[in-house]
Subunit: 162 residues, 2 copies
């Protein structure tokens, strides 16, 4: 589980660095698909990851509004403020938590039940999906996107070259 | 591990169905980013998944050329022909395989070493990333993309509504 979270954090950090080289107007520009913009998507990824981890822990969540975080610096600060809690949760993950149940009340009064393992993989897939959208917008800007490769990042327990 | 592969197969099947409603010219049209087209991306996902599973098993791989599979029907047939082998491999996955090593000779004569666990997650992330690209192209066509949600697909070991 941990490897895919680490992968997402590495890729996200590389996108922040990619953003440093791009004019803020382009980062904020309305685009087709996903969250409709580059910075909004990065904000959304950090927000959704943290929100689900809060929900699993039974802690209060709040809906962040992108309008309050519409600069690269503010998104990075928000992400950093969320990261510690997310990381601690991910690091203490073990297989016994896989089938714990989350009961989520819906607006219509029904209750949806998810396993914790399902929620954790939802968080992972959610971010990778949105990063795929960034890669298209990057090409539309004529820029090389951040590599999506998971191999070659030293995430396995071995020396990567010999 | 298995849940994320199953997620990708479900999403891929839904994209094939999405393709049924779209003119073939649009599926083949050159687009910006990723593999440069909708059907080419779906072909690529099936091909890359199968190729890595072959490599892990030490079985010969061959590079498929999209030009030989440039219709929805042919991509689906190819995918189906790969699926059984991939599925068998994924179903027999256990934690002992996580740190097995794959030695991959590079063109410059060096050897890159990956853990099997790293390769499996690379396969998973690779597909989700490309599906994110499809979602942007779908919106550009004015069409609703397939949902990327992992939750709500009944992939956890529980009843999803009560």
């Amino acid at each position: 589980m941990e490897m895919l979270f680490k992968y997402n954090w590495m890729v996200r950090e590389e996108w922040y660095r990619w953003c440093e080289e791009v004019e803020e107007a382009e980062l904020l520009k309305k685009r087709t698909g996903g969250m409709g913009g580059i910075l909004h998507t990065l904000f959304h990824n950090a927000d959704v990851e943290w929100s689900w981890i809060r929900i699993l822990q039974g802690k209060p969540d709040f809906m962040e509004r992108f309008e309050s975080y519409n600069s690269l610096e503010r998104v990075r600060e928000l992400d950093a403020s969320f990261r510690l809690e997310v990381q601690q949760f991910v690091e203490k993950w073990d297989n016994d938590m896989e089938n714990k149940l989350l009961h989520l009340p819906e607006e219509d009064g029904s209750v949806t039940v998810f396993t914790w393992g399902e929620v954790m993989r939802h968080i992972i897939a959610h971010e990778i999906h949105h990063i795929g959208q960034l890669s298209v917008w990057s090409r539309e800007l004529g820029l090389k996107p951040v590599s999506a490769n998971l191999i070659g990042r030293g995430l396995g327990s071995h020396h990567s070259k010999k």
